[in-house]
Subunit: 150 residues, 2 copies
């Protein structure tokens, strides 16, 4: 059975391995031993912030998935909170087992528990399967997702 | 000259009036006297969070624009921070004066000051002019923006 918990610093190696083992991630991550300090710094900032949760999915004691959920208070929609999902990955060896869907369902449950009225994410248009995956789960691609590198 | 500052609780009436005076906002905001408590609650949560900034643009002592900037630490991209812009509005009477561009430039400057490597936003596909506006400013619509109401 897949279980979920907040990530710990000792999970970072396995998490970054998953982030790097990805068609887009392999170009932008650095899965090295030792891991670059920037990952530990980011983990500390996430872990210290009650509006950010880094979640791992575990199966038989192994980490098989990861995602980050951010809770944000907004003035729009009459002052409603939103949950944003980012960095969703499933271990390559475990794909096709429904772990991704369970991760998103977990995020939806957390968003409801935190009183959010919307849950949202952006997915790279190059990830052709992702859009269909999220649409099957009930998301609607109503928005353009714009980025600028600084 | 347009100036920028963090919003105060006493600005909320003018801000919500701008949010409601919008083709999409008019369906989902409640600009009433007194303002619904939910706006004040959201303002308090934003104001108390160092990773959220509600910014107003002022011209001749009047509030003429608003936006919210959220700074988020992520593990992806080697543990990089991102800035997300949301709820950008310019007062109806002041449109066409470049205030929107200045708001976004202010957000870019804040994002750089906070060490973010990406600045991002989503815009409703129904807002046909918005996509071009953001593309002119240097954003690229590389992502689909997916939402689910809870």
């Amino acid at each position: 059975m897949v279980t979920f918990r907040n990530a710990m610093a000792t999970d970072l190696c396995e998490i970054v391995q998953m982030l790097a083992d990805d068609v887009l991630g392999q170009e932008r991550e650095r899965y090295e031993n030792p891991l670059p300090d920037s990952y530990f710094d980011a983990f500390e900032s996430i872990d210290a912030d009650r509006n950010n949760e880094l979640i791992v999915a575990c199966l038989d004691g192994q980490i098989v998935g990861v995602q980050q959920i951010t809770f944000t208070p907004y003035l729009t929609h009459q002052g409603g909170w939103r949950a944003t999902i980012e960095g969703v990955r499933t271990a390559a060896s475990e794909r096709g087992k429904g772990i991704g869907s369970k991760l998103i369902q977990y995020a939806i449950d957390r968003a409801k528990a935190r009183g959010c009225h919307i849950i949202q994410l952006t997915t790279d248009k190059k990830r052709e399967d992702s859009l269909r995956f999220y649409e099957r789960l009930g998301f609607t691609a109503t928005h353009e997702g714009l980025k600028m590198k600084l």
